[in-house]
């Protein structure tokens, strides 16, 4: 019994010690920003979150990054925790346009402004939304696709995670234009989960069934790079055109090397910085923010590649 109590006491002491060492200096008066992002399992979102944190820091605010792990329920927990522990603004990258509405409403009720980055929330309660327009980005990518394919050929589409709304925004944007050209035939549409290895493996299998394809449209750059590797291994990289989405470092380099044809550049840096700057302005009394600011997604090809770097413009 005494032994047991001793053990509990030890654990308790340890906990107190750990908590004490975690607790930072007095910040009661200082305003802090919570950065809640849908996932950190994808470099794009890591970049978004870190840029927001860096901007907050340069404006003189403390911030903390919360990872929702693509789980709206976990996101709800993060909102509750952030509100309870006194964060004064939330820089928010939602997991789901509809599912995240309750969280935004909750924050609004608690008097905490929410600034959405990249992805939209279907709610007027968000203070301001700085959004990447995946749909029209894919329309301009599709325009280039139709043009380089001379309106005919067989192509493969690699979808992202099928339960992710970005997957479908991109796919629908692409098809909204490409489907008007009967000469362009989609011979396979498969998911590769936004993952490079899956992109490679799925493409290997598709190439067995359809050795005569002319192009691949991938819902993100990681899958595009995986598909490109499968094409290289099959000796088809020279005559199959690959199109990606995101503007990741590997893809920018690959376009420069004429390995893949094009990608659609999003601007996570612009969105994250704007969100943090808006939060700062909110603290200083500004209230009239534009409800929605679309940040254009730009087409990147070999012709304009020198204007771009990973995740942004030079």
């Amino acid at each position: 019994m005494i032994n047991l109590m001793k053990k509990y006491l030890q654990i308790l002491l340890l906990l107190v010690f750990v908590l004490a060492s975690c607790h930072s200096t007095d910040t009661a008066k200082q305003k802090k920003m919570a950065i809640i992002v849908s996932t950190l399992n994808n470099p794009w979102f890591v970049f978004l979150a870190q840029t927001a944190a860096a901007q907050a820091k340069s404006l003189g605010y403390e911030s903390k990054i919360f990872d929702s792990q693509n789980n709206t329920a976990l996101e709800t927990d993060h909102f509750e925790n952030a509100i309870a522990s006194g964060y004064s603004a939330i820089l928010f990258n939602p997991t789901d346009a509809n599912g995240s509405v309750v969280n935004v409403v909750k924050a609004k009720k608690a008097g905490v402004p929410v600034f959405c980055m990249d992805r939209e929330v279907n709610s007027p309660e968000a203070t301001s939304q700085i959004l990447s327009d995946s749909y029209s980005g894919c329309v301009s990518l599709a325009k280039y696709f139709v043009q380089t394919m001379h309106k005919k050929g067989n192509y493969v589409e690699l979808l992202g995670i099928v339960s992710d709304n970005n997957t479908w925004a991109r796919s629908k944007g692409f098809h909204s234009l490409v489907d008007y050209y009967p000469g362009l035939k989609m011979v396979a549409q498969q998911s590769a989960d936004f993952d490079r290895n899956k992109g490679l493996e799925v493409m290997e299998s598709i190439l067995q069934a359809h050795p005569d394809i002319d192009a691949v449209f991938a819902g993100n750059d990681a899958m595009a790079m995986g598909a490109f590797q499968a094409l290289v291994a099959a000796g088809k990289a020279n005559h199959v055109k690959v199109f990606g989405f995101d503007g990741a470092e590997d893809a920018i380099q690959a376009i420069k090397d004429k390995k893949i044809s094009a990608t659609a550049m999003q601007f996570p840096k612009v969105m994250a910085q704007t969100a943090a700057i808006y939060a700062d302005a909110y603290f200083k009394g500004k209230r009239d923010f534009p409800k929605k600011i679309p940040v254009a997604v730009e087409l990147v090809t070999y012709d304009n590649i020198n204007d771009y770097i990973a995740y942004g413009k030079k």
């Binding site: 950190l40 399992n41 994808n42 470099p43 890591v46 970049f47 870190q50 979808l159 099928v162 011979v187 396979a188 549409q189 498969q190 998911s191 993952d195 490079r196 290895n197 490679l200 493996e201 799925v202 290997e204 299998s205 598709i206 067995q208 069934a209 990681a222 790079m225 995986g226 590797q229 291994a233 470092e249 590997d250």
Partner: protein
């Protein structure tokens, strides 16, 4: 008559995964003429080589009536360590010290990291009696977090042609990853069938207290088994990294499920003591063929998940029914 029938039945049970595989292959080839080609055969073999490494390790762990959920995260961490050391080495700015790594050195470091992570799993399981499910679940999160810390959340790419050979090269007309998985299988079969370690592994899974009474050092055996699982995850991690020419921080997500599925389809009992390496290999091939076939047939991604789950369930139901008849 009865004995002949039961003998016949026991043979049937033994070859059950093989029969399932043959039926599956016949079915897919009837629906697609692209399936039964040499090229596609190599594709499938190359694609499953990673899962084979992981699920062979998983089989050893499951035979001791344990489980290892951390394989996917360990794979990612070891792949990242190998890639990072190869590309950047170790820099100690305060001492102006830089340690570069050769290809072999970086791979060795990745394998050692895998064995240490596995050893840690074995240590928590044996020393603190943490249930394997919980201990390795914790490691799943820890190793993923360490991967994020080490890579800072970004992929480590462009690792050089000699490293790419491991995942994409050919040797004597056979892809290198297939060689690697073949070597892993041979070693594992020898361990389980011909060595004292193998006999102890089955004994522990069959009846732990009896094995303890008969003088087997259970902690030691378990630590060895979890370490082997860690090393094999590292082997898988190095192969994936080499194949992609890039260590992805989210590599190996949910690979533990594919590995457990291979083990279970292969007829290994999750309560330990019963099962074979070759069964698991067949299980891994079945999953690989299924993945490949569903894409060849252009089955909708939604349905693919349903079909895969259904196959796993069916395999276990048949296995259970047979176990009851034994």
């Amino acid at each position: 008559m009865d004995t002949i029938l039961s003998k016949y039945r026991s043979h049937l049970v033994k070859f059950q995964p093989l029969i399932a595989l043959v039926l599956l292959c016949i079915g897919i080839s009837l629906m697609s003429d692209k399936f039964m080609t040499v090229d596609n055969g190599w594709n499938v073999m190359r694609q499953i080589s990673v899962n084979i490494c992981i699920s062979v390790g998983m089989t050893l762990v499951v035979l001791t009536s344990g489980i290892d959920l951390s394989v996917g995260s360990v794979l990612a961490l070891c792949g990242a360590i190998t890639a990072g050391l190869l590309k950047f080495g170790i820099e100690v700015p305060s001492n102006n010290l830089f340690v570069g790594f050769t290809l072999l050195g970086a791979i060795l470091a990745g394998l050692i990291a895998g064995s240490l992570l596995g050893l840690f799993n074995g240590w928590t399981v044996t020393k603190f009696k943490v249930p394997p499910f919980v201990a390795t679940l914790a490691m799943l999160t820890i190793a993923r977090g360490l991967t994020m810390l080490y890579t800072k959340g970004f992929p480590i790419s462009n690792l050089g042609d000699s490293f790419a050979y491991i995942g994409t090269g050919w040797f004597l007309g056979i892809p290198v990853p297939v060689w690697v998985s073949a070597v892993v299988i041979v070693i594992a079969v020898i361990i389980t069938q011909k060595t004292a370690l193998g006999r102890y592994i089955y004994a522990i899974g069959g009846n732990e207290s009896a094995s303890k009474l008969s003088g087997i050092n259970i902690s030691k055996i378990k630590m060895i088994v979890y370490s082997i699982a860690g090393v094999l995850s590292a082997v898988g991690g190095i192969m994936v990294t080499s194949r992609l020419d890039s260590a992805q921080p989210n590599a190996g997500m949910s690979y533990e499920l594919d590995a457990i599925a291979a083990v279970v389809i292969g007829g290994t009992s999750l309560s330990g003591g019963r099962g074979t390496i070759m069964g698991t290999v067949l299980g891994a091939i079945i999953i690989g063929v299924l993945n490949n076939g569903l894409v060849l047939l252009n089955v909708s991604p939604f349905w693919q998940q349903v079909v895969k789950g259904g196959v796993i369930l069916l395999a276990v139901i048949i296995d259970r029914a047979n176990a009851k008849n034994d």
